[in-house]
Every structure is written in C-alpha cells, then in structure tokens.
Symmetry: C2
Subunit: 352 residues, 2 copies
C-alpha cells in the first residue's frame, strides 16, 4: 500500500468493533479518526443518523470542524438531513466519501456536489437482501391471508379456507437496480412472472436483469394494468419524482398490491390515500413517505389495507458489518489509486 498519509474520519454512529476492524485494515501511514463522543448516539443496530435530539456543545463543534477540515476519506457525509451546508467548505480535503445509504442523489445535490469529482461510493446492494425480505414478507402475508388467520385465531374459530398464491402472479418492478434485481431473483424462485421498467430496454437487458419482460417508460400504464403487484425500487431522480400518479394508480388492478421501498416522492400520496380508501388497490406496504417521519395525522396510519414501516425495511442487524467489509475493500483500492475499482460508485452528474 501507499505511504502517503491519509486521514479517515467516521462521521456517523458506528459500533467500536467495526471501527477497530477498519483501523486494523489500514497501513501505518493512515489515521482513523473515530470519535463516538462527537456523533449522535445510535438508537438501533445500523442507525446512521443517531439520536436527533443530541447536539454538540460549542467546544465539541469546534473540535469536530477542525478534524473534518483535515480528513481525506469520510465514512458518511458529515451533515444531517436538515442541514444546509456547502460540502467543500466543511470538508475541503475530502477525496472520497463512503455513504451508509444507497439513495444519496438528493443529499449530494443539496451539498453542492452534483458534477463534482469527489469519489462517492454508496451502500447500494447492502440493502438488497433486507428489502427483498420485506417485499416477500408483505406479499406472502397478503396472499396467504395472515390477517384473516389472526382474526380467526382471536375468536378461536376453526374454518378451513383457501388462498391465492404468489406462484403464477406477475410482479412489476420499477427500477431494476441492485435492489430490484434481488427482488426479481427471489420472485423467480417463487415461480412468479417478473416484469420491469428501467431506463434501458435493449434486447439482452431483460436476461441480464433476470426478468421476463422489460417495459419502456411509455408503456408504464400497460405494465401496471396487468401486474398483481408493483414494487418501487428506483432512485429518486427528476424522472421518478411523482412517477406514480392518480392515473397510474387507477390503471392498476383493484386486487393488486403496491410496495414502496424507494422514496416517498415517487408516489402522489394524496391520490394513493384516495385509491386505497376506495379499495381500488387491495394493499399497500410503504416504507418511505413524502414527509418523514410520517405525520401523526396522516390518514395512511389508519387505513386497514396499509402497512406503515418507518423507513426501516432496509435496516438489518448485520448492516454495519457488511458496510465495514465494503469500506475495507474500497479503502484498499483507494490507497492504491485504483479509483475505478471502487464500487458501487455514484455518478455525481446523474445522481444514481
């Protein structure tokens, strides 16, 4: 490895064992700044934001800013969702940021980094498995009528019944990226038909993605009209904002299921509430919302055909271990100047 001194700074909550693993993977010339006392305390495994009520004292803030000014590598952007700062002013020496989330396009834009040559590697792929597990938990609970089972159980009532099944159903995926492909792979194991709408639609693309059929943006409603479930996995970009409006929702089958594990801004939430209240959609499982936390007076909380999940479907107890593995792989490439081998890279122009 190179002997150029490099300073790595951990800027979000991380368990000591993972910080130790990172330090152990570094050459002597590399310094790891791990100061859990200067970041908000973690609330659960894989919490990258930490307690929102926690703030730094003025003294801590000075120390924090001083450390940040010298760091070359950051584990996470050192800002909160509601902070408005110019990244180049607070971290002028940063060359590479490894984020702990996948959908960082909007934060990169907000920090004034669109089009910059900062290396940004994301957690894209880390969340594929937990998100796919969420998707199939929702779909199976719905198709196998677990809600009905619980009602029957409460009244000690035994009555045999029949259910649908995932096998033979058609799943439509919007955004067949790493997460969408993981969902598609498991859907195929359940013997579902899998369709997808993505940005590219070349002849070999469906096979590459592991789906049965690809649809173009102009065929969205055609795809929706024939799908039994719709899974939103696309990044939040200008093209996906409000992609699912009232017309798209009404195009869907009335017994279809909608799952949003992408970003709340993809759906017209007002139209969604209307459509769900009218029973036009059978069920919606939402892990993301236009405004998070979902306001306590949102009608979504009380709809019987909605599962509200607090943006936690991707969060698994194993997450920071996997992120640490990823960081260490990327660090070795970074220290040896093999920037092109670092992955998964964010395209800072296209923001995904």
């Amino acid at each position: 490895m190179t002997a150029v001194p490099v300073t790595i700074m951990i800027t979000s909550p991380l368990e000591p064992e993972h910080a130790r693993r990172i330090a152990a993977a570094c050459p002597e010339s590399t310094e790891v700044i791990y100061r859990p006392d200067l970041v908000p305390p973690s609330r659960y495994a894989g919490d990258h934001d930490g307690d929102p009520g926690w703030t730094r004292t003025p003294g801590q803030q000075d120390e924090w800013s001083g450390l940040l000014a010298h760091a070359h590598v950051l584990w996470d952007f050192p800002v909160r969702d509601d902070e408005d700062v110019e990244f180049s002013l607070i971290a002028p020496n940063a060359r590479w940021v490894q984020t702990s989330t996948a959908g960082v396009g909007q934060i990169v834009k907000r920090l004034g980094l669109q089009g910059s040559d900062l290396v940004i590697t994301t957690a894209s792929g880390i969340h594929g498995q937990p998100l796919a597990e969420f998707v199939f938990g929702v779909l199976l609970g719905h198709v196998k009528r677990f809600g009905h089972l619980r009602t029957e159980q409460r009244s000690h009532h035994w009555e045999r019944f029949s259910t649908g099944e995932l096998a033979g159903q058609t799943m439509a995926i919007i955004g067949p990226g790493r997460i969408g492909r993981e969902v598609a792979r498991i859907a195929k194991a359940f013997r579902m038909n899998v369709w997808a709408m993505g940005r590219t639609n070349t002849p070999n693309r469906a096979k590459e993605l592991g789906v049965d059929q690809l649809f173009g943006r102009d065929e969205l409603r055609t795809m929706l009209a024939r799908a039994d479930c719709l899974v939103l996995c696309a990044p939040h970009t200008p093209e996906t904002e409000n992609l699912i409006g009232r017309g798209e929702l009404l195009a869907m089958k009335s017994d279809a299921v909608l799952i949003n594990i992408a970003r709340g801004a993809m759906i017209d939430e007002t139209a969604l509430v209307d459509v769900l209240e009218q029973g036009h959609l059978a069920f919606a499982a939402l892990d993301v919302f236009r405004h998070e936390p979902l306001p306590p007076d949102s009608p979504l909380w009380d709809l019987p055909n909605v599962l509200v999940s607090p943006h936690s479907a991707s969060t698994a107890d194993s997450e920071n271990g996997k992120l640490t593995d990823l960081f260490i792989r990327n660090l070795e490439h970074f220290l040896n100047g093999r920037f092109h081998e670092m992955e998964p890279r964010l395209d800072t122009s296209r923001l995904y």
Copy 2:
C-alpha cells in the same frame, strides 16, 4: 388408448369445469360418474371434504353405493375421516385411486389397504408451493417484526428500528420429500443454510435434495440445537409419531421458530404449549394439530407467540386445476397399462 370399458367416479367435491376437462380427456369407452348431488357441497376452493353437516338420504346412499361398486378408478377415497369401512367391500372393482391430499398413509391403513396392490397416486407435490409460501410468510413476518410494525402503526408511532434477516440463518427440515425440497429450494434463494433430516443419508443425498447438510435420526437434537428454524414436512408414520418431544423442543434455541405443516401427531403438543408459554421457543406456526379442528379451549389459540392455521396452508385456489392436470396425466398412463409411470405413487407397505 385401450378400448376396455373403464368407469371413473369422482367421489369428492369438484368444480364442474374440472370434471368436464376429465371427461374430455377420456376415450369413448370410458365413463365418468360425476354426481355433485351425491357428495357434500364444497365450502371453499380446493375443499375435498365438503360440508361436514351434509348427509345423503337413504335413497342417495343406495345410489352412491351402487355406483361405487362398479367404479374402476376413484377420484379420492369415498369415505370421511371418521368413517370406518373396509374399502374392498364398498369399492370391490377399484384398481386405482387418485387422492386429493398428500398424507394418506393413515387413511390407507384404516381402510385395510396396507400392503394391497391397489394403485394409489397422491397429491404429493401439488401442495409444495402453497406450503412453502406459508413457511416463508411466517418466517419473514417474524424476522422482519411485522407484529411490532402493526403495534407501532396502531399508535401512529414512528421510530426506526432494526431487524434480523433470513439470509445467513439456518433452517432445519424434517422430511425432505417433495414439500421439504420446495421449502429448501426457496430457502436457498433467501441465502439460508439448509439442513435436513431424512430417512436416507448417503453421500450424494444432500446434493440431490438441494440442502447443505444431512443429519441422521440419531443426530436430531444436534441439528435442532443449531437451527434458527425448524420446518416439519415429514409424513405421519410410526417413525415420525411424537418425534418432537419435550427434549427436542428444549434442545432448540430459545429464539428459534417452529413450523408444522406435516401432521399434529409429530409433536408432543402438551410439551409444545409449555415451552411456548415459557418463551423457550420464540414462535410457532401450526397448520396441523393432534386433534382437528383444534378444540376451542386449547391454550394454543391464545399464545401470543403462536399462529394457528386451520389445516389450510396447503389449500390454494389453483389446487383443483393442478390436481385435474395430474389426474389426466395419470389416467392416460392407466388406460394404457403403464402403471409404473403413474405418479406420485404411494407405497402401500411403507405408507408414504
């Protein structure tokens, strides 16, 4: 096809469209007796028992017995679970019975058919997919903490949290037959480790079954002690009766999940209740019970860590369509004397 006259009799509820398909598949010399007026009315799609309150009038019973006496092929055994009759007396001309369920060993024994040369093909395999979907619905709902989500949703409470995941967990399967292999196949898609205990344990057997490791009967507790979930799929035979006793339940991890989609008699139900009440097992999903219907005063109904399912996990709306396909395939073999090609065959000696 052969010209020998053959009489087929449908002895359990079946939708007219399926009976029509069977008739259409028959040569002219074959007669199909389809008398929905002489069988109990169906209560749900795939109901093979029909309304237990329904009975034949004496006139209907005479007509039924007369028809049965001449039938060569039966769609289902023409007896109810609680009837005690000698099969050879009521259906002396029967050469082949296609059953609509998989686990028929006990009924075959009760009808005096153990060791007989009656051809018995079962529905084994038909239920693999619906049962596997039940298994993963249970496991995902548990690991992704859907119960916690519902509680949080009821109180409009947004708090991010972390969960476990199926990926990396170890599943133990007892009875890697058609159903167990389907469960194993999907478990591998979820990146689980899959172990199994079956009757044969030869070097290539694990690979044939699609599992990572096989355990012998004498290693049962060793396997249970290291598994995150146990799925019972074995047939009900003298070897599997009471296989999971108190000692086996106590050998399991306290955060493990137990799923029984086999037969209730495989588990010591009293010990199971104790173990669940003490929180030694995290969760049990039971589709089968020692006494069915599960008595209204069974403590299982009210345990918060139990899902009671009324022996319906295998019942899918598509079932009779699939059974009809299977029957038509077997019928062609039967009419052409290719008995060895009929499948899946019950071994009338071993009863599975």
